[in-house]
């Protein structure tokens, strides 16, 4: 039985988990900023959009104040992951930890800081953060999870069931890596192209008919990514191109996080997404000139902030 959950990082995704899971479990939240924790303790967490919830949560910015829990969801951005995981070292002895970062390698980063059983997860849900205590639930797409290393599959199924009972969508897999690669290829391409062009993820990304249609480039980038996945021994699960078509036909256009980051001159997750893909290409000896160009251009864009 999972009766207590700690959510580490209360950005959009962390807040959506915390607000929903508080309906079915004791939820504590670890924030980076103290004012954020204070606001959550005082006002609770309000979820609007596809859910209408007001959750009471126990929040702190001091990892020493965290109670032991059954499950900890590490929902910070990839760029904050190492700091977040190191703050948990030696704590939460009874917990299973679940990573939901974009890209590859989050499990290895967490592993460096403790020997908790680990679950891998990727989430497709999205939301809009209106304030420290108010998040709108926008896309009710699922979270997929599976065991990492020797973690038992039953644990993944138990966590998926808990998430579903809280009102979110989730599914457990015996091996998450094919899905992780699908999302990696999708994210590297869509986030990178959006960050460079300023376009939200809209119909342009699927337009293949005209000679210079952006969809042609998106397809070529994804084909390169698929070749890397195959060479890495993990043929992608769902076809990233089909995911792209589906997402652009949904009606609501999504602003990828990397686009929001470059518009706000914030560091992006380019290293754990595009960097991870390009490094895998190098390791497996696959030429991926377009993905390599995309990676270099986004890193250049980040360098232009200063």
């Amino acid at each position: 039985m999972i009766e207590s959950v700690c959510v580490v990082g209360a950005g959009t995704i962390g807040s959506l988990f915390a607000g929903h899971l508080a309906q079915v479990a004791d939820v504590s939240v670890l924030t980076r900023r103290r004012e954020h924790a204070d606001a959550l303790c005082e006002h609770g967490l309000r979820i609007s959009g596809r859910s209408d919830l007001h959750a009471r949560v126990r929040a702190t910015s001091d990892p020493g104040e965290l109670p032991d829990v059954d499950l900890a969801i590490i929902a910070c951005k990839g760029t904050d992951l190492d700091d977040a995981a190191s703050s948990l070292a030696g704590r939460l002895p009874g917990a299973t930890l679940m990573t939901v970062q974009n890209g590859l390698g989050a499990e290895e980063v967490v592993r460096r800081h403790g020997d908790w059983p680990l679950l891998s997860a990727i989430t497709f849900m999205s939301g809009t953060r209106h304030s420290d205590t108010e998040v709108e639930y926008v896309l009710d797409t699922p979270t997929w999870l599976g065991p990492h290393e020797a973690a038992p599959r039953e644990r993944a199924e138990e966590v998926a069931a808990l998430i579903v009972s809280s009102g979110l969508k989730a599914e457990a897999f015996a091996d998450l890596r094919p899905a992780q690669w699908s999302k990696l290829i999708f994210n590297a391409t869509v986030n990178g192209v959006a960050a460079l062009t300023g376009l939200p993820h809209d119909r342009h990304f699927a337009a293949e008919n005209e000679g210079d249609g952006l969809g042609r480039l998106v397809r070529r980038l994804m084909d390169e990514g698929k070749a890397v996945a195959v060479a890495a021994g993990v043929p992608p699960g769902e076809d990233p191109w089909e995911m792209n078509i589906h997402a652009t036909q949904r009606g609501s256009t999504h602003r990828p996080s990397m686009l929001e980051d470059v518009e706000a001159n914030r560091p992006t997750e380019v290293e754990s997404i595009n960097g991870a893909l390009v490094r895998e290409a190098e390791r497996t000896g696959v030429r991926a000139p377009l993905q390599r160009a995309l990676y270099a251009l986004v890193r250049g864009k980040e360098a232009s902030y200063s």
Partner: protein
């Protein structure tokens, strides 16, 4: 045709000559009004005050011996279409950026001159142009629909006498492809990242992308039998030096910052079109073309 910075450099200098009468056609009414009221003035690398007749009405143009097309590349078609009557018996030169301009001009006039020019500047206010850098111009026949070599030499001689050093050559393609390869390798990388030329070149991953774009452009030039007159790689490294153009923002980056339509279709897009006709793959030039066009789409 097109009296922006480069067009103004030609117009004002040529108007200094006693044997040349210069007319300027431009869409900017304030610029045209200022030129007619106060003359066309250059300042910076050279100080020139010229009497030029300017108009926004192509029907007001007299019959001309020569035309010089200096519009942004995407405006060639409209500019030459409306001024075709005045150019009916003229030899018409492109001094524009990119490749593919002469092909467009040749739809409307029979004797076309392939041109490449390096002087640059910017409009400071209507009627006044900052002349930033002097540089050479190369003119030669546009092979499918050529001007006579004698008239190309006449135009080159007039430009040179006026202070714009210009060579008439039998094959103007090496100079043109050297410039387009340089611009296509550097402009979109600056435009997409926001980095100056020097900062692009000091990042090994971006410098490698620039080289890969140069490589595709060279392959397309080679497939046409063109031997470049200088190596774009050396020109790119030279320009990256602090005392040369380290801090220069590529014109396409300036366009993007001002949300103006870019010349991508005639730079990387042009290299891609020639590549397709010749069977030479240009995947990176195609990719940056698609990215920059998508960037333009994001403004609407």
């Amino acid at each position: 045709m097109g009296c922006g910075a480069v067009g103004s450099l030609f117009a004002a200098n040529l108007a200094q000559l006693e044997d040349v009468e210069v007319w300027a056609y431009d869409l900017s009414q304030p610029h045209v009004d200022a030129i007619n009221a106060y003359g066309l003035r250059l300042t910076g690398a050279g100080e020139v005050a010229a009497h030029v007749r300017a108009t926004t009405d192509p029907a007001a143009l007299p019959t001309c011996d020569f035309g010089i097309v200096a519009t942004k590349a995407m405006h060639t078609e409209s500019a030459v279409t409306v001024s075709a009557p005045a150019l009916a018996s003229a030899a018409v030169a492109s001094v524009q950026n990119g490749v593919g301009n002469e092909e467009v001009i040749a739809h409307h006039v029979t004797r076309v001159i392939r041109g490449t020019t390096f002087p640059a500047g910017k409009i400071l206010e209507p009627g006044v142009v900052q002349w930033d850098v002097k540089g050479d111009t190369t003119l030669g026949p546009f092979e499918p629909s050529p001007a006579h070599i004698g008239e190309i030499e006449r135009l080159a001689d007039a430009c040179t006498r006026s202070g714009m050093p210009t060579a008439a050559v039998a094959d103007a393609r090496p100079a043109q492809w050297r410039k387009v390869i340089f611009n296509a390798a550097t402009n979109p990388v600056g435009a997409l990242t926001g980095l100056t030329h020097g900062r692009v070149c000091e990042r090994p991953d971006l410098r490698a992308l620039v080289s890969a774009l140069v490589g595709e452009g060279k392959a397309v030039a080679t497939a046409q039998g063109i031997t470049l007159d200088a190596d774009p790689e050396e020109l790119i490294d030279h320009a990256a030096k602090p005392e040369v153009a380290y801090d220069h923002k590529a014109s396409m980056l300036q366009d993007v910052e001002a949300r103006r339509e870019t010349e991508i279709d005639f730079l990387n897009g042009g290299i891609g079109r020639f590549g397709r006709e010749l069977g030479v793959p240009t995947p990176l030039n195609d990719a940056v073309t698609q990215l920059v066009k998508a960037l333009e789409d994001s403004w609407h």
